[in-house]
Symmetry: C3
């Protein structure tokens, strides 16, 4: 923030669904303070009150936006209680989210993350005097994001460096001598099962095979490399292991959803 | 609009769902006439042909947008018939909607609303010669909104002051000596049941208790003030009474949906 | 594009649903290359891996956007295989889509379409060196669209004229001496059944009657011309035959969905 020029772009990630004016009024607040803002909806289909999926997508997506983008995430079951709000700078981008583990996947892979705790008392200078107790997305996150994205504010103006934050809700993949164990974090519109196992963890295997719910899936390069209807495992475009069914819906066919364990091992071992 | 400088922002509220290119072509028409427009989707999940929810959200949301914003609402079962189209100025914002009761919740609380009836015959000067009979959102509302938002047009250029408009479809909350009766207007993605009872109506009670479908809900400040799974009533961030279940889905658990009656009374009275 | 000045507007049509950050990262890539881009989501509810509906909507919608708009469509079951990518210029607009039949409905009605085949080898000049094998929307389509929309690139810079492309997946309506046969291409949020029968094909009939699934529907001008609950056929605002139920949901009531045959004949003949 201090180092990167703001891009004027703000992304919003929430568990609001595509219902009601909740994301819209955040945009209204942003445009009131910073008329030149360009706001992009990153994802609004995060399961209610489940921060890990928001953090997963943000940590895997932010690099596709211009440097100096502000990424706001509102999955906030603790709104109105004493939970803190984090501001972070990672890789030339700025992140704003409740301190509930949401940003942990981002911090995990970035040892040079600069992490701050928002000092809500200092927000009165922004004219944020009496936020509601139930919608900080509109009353705190949106105005702070607008000020950060406009370049009028930097993290250190309203936040204090911190060395502690809430850990992520999901365990990191477990790595043993002959296997890697992870979890399905999300399912896309095609029914592809997307895990938290990074491609780097697969390099130890000569011919990796993934197992989910008693089924075995061989690793391929892309969907088109198997016949329609056949299953495959692949490293997807976000760099993680995915289970898919070519021109089909793996999640529905397998009856598998978020939270399912995934195990990868050498082909001959299992 | 004659008094407030246009902000260049246009919001769109419809019952189109998130299906097809219907909202998109409205944006195309707007950008064709006014390339600098910034268009925000307010809500597209209004139940088909049910104007009251559109009016509820617009009346509760518009103040979060910059002054001089144009708010367009298309919930329009009477499209192609003789129904009128209203242009209104309220609190420095401009509103454009079919005259079917949609804007009534906005007018109710604003005695200084300036209300006009669109003179469709005068639209030929805007090059709107032959609108379709089935999609005035694209063929009338979008071009008029673009012209209003650009500052090239004011309401009085194409509309005539009117003192009559279609009343709202929902009755205002009924207030008696010992109770206030309202209705559930909408349900958000968390399953929170949102009523039309304004917080001002609750001040008459010392310890208000809300009743919906035979259940009693005590008034709390925010979701975090009860244990996960417990129910509560609260004044939400839009200033109305809401029934919620902490980290749960009240609508599903209670089997309650839009249209359910809500009664508030003193704690000891019921 | 060589003839029309770019508008700076880009539309995106996909089968990604409204899930995850897939459309968002395309926007991030676009804004990184072309910060002044204005991106409009045309439709994301195309059924997975079904190009015809994307092509139908694009061919019927593009004219409502400013001349010089770039329309990107990603319904791409063949991603990562040898399928080609088409760039086309039609009516002053630019189109970018996989060569899988998606754009066929657009080409069908435009004999002066200029069609090019993207030379992926030439993309290295744009810094597109190693696209993923599974998300060309982000890695090829988005950056090429940004360069085209910015005016820095024209189709001929990276694509070669071609006279062959994959035909559409749906047959054109069949016209015989006494009837026109088509198909339901899509269903909107109101349950209206939208066919591929253009209004021009109806002019041969004096009193056309449409038949779908054993039911007969008389042609009316608009929804408001029948009583609530009654069915009708009409030419909709996109110029095609539609079956609707006034203030009701025809698709649900009739149990009819995409793919259903539609036959139009003279009233007395059937």
């Amino acid at each position: 923030m201090s180092k990167t020029k703001p891009s004027g772009v703000i992304t919003i990630t929430t568990d609001f669904g595509h219902k009601g004016p909740f994301a819209a009024v955040m945009k209204g607040v942003i445009l009131t303070r910073f008329p030149a803002a360009r706001v992009v909806d990153l994802a609004h289909d995060i399961p209610p009150h489940w921060p890990p999926e928001a953090g997963f997508w943000i940590s895997r997506s932010y690099r596709y936006f211009p440097a100096g983008t502000v990424h706001v995430a509102i999955v906030d079951p603790g709104v109105g209680t004493e939970r803190e709000i984090l501001v972070a700078e990672v890789g030339g981008h700025v992140f704003l989210a409740p301190d509930n583990g949401l940003l942990a996947p981002l911090f995990a892979g970035n040892v040079d993350a600069a992490i701050f705790c928002l000092n809500v008392g200092r927000l009165s200078r922004l004219g944020i005097a009496t936020p509601s107790l139930t919608f900080h997305g509109r009353d705190i996150f949106a105005p702070v994001a607008a000020e950060l994205a406009s370049g009028r504010l930097t993290a250190t103006d309203v936040a204090t460096p911190t060395a502690s934050w809430t850990p992520g809700w999901l365990e990191d993949p477990e790595v043993t001598s002959d296997r890697v164990s992870g979890i399905i974090v999300t399912v896309d519109a095609f029914g592809n099962l997307i895990s938290n196992i990074d491609q780097g963890l697969l390099q130890r295997f000569k011919t990796p095979v993934a197992r989910v719910g008693g089924h075995r899936f061989e690793l391929r390069q892309t969907y088109g490399r198997v016949k329609p209807g056949e299953y495959l495992a692949l490293v997807n475009s976000f760099g993680v292991l995915e289970i898919a069914r070519a021109e089909g819906n793996a999640a529905e066919s397998l009856g598998t959803d978020r939270g399912a364990p995934v195990i990868v091992a050498e082909s001959g071992d299992s």
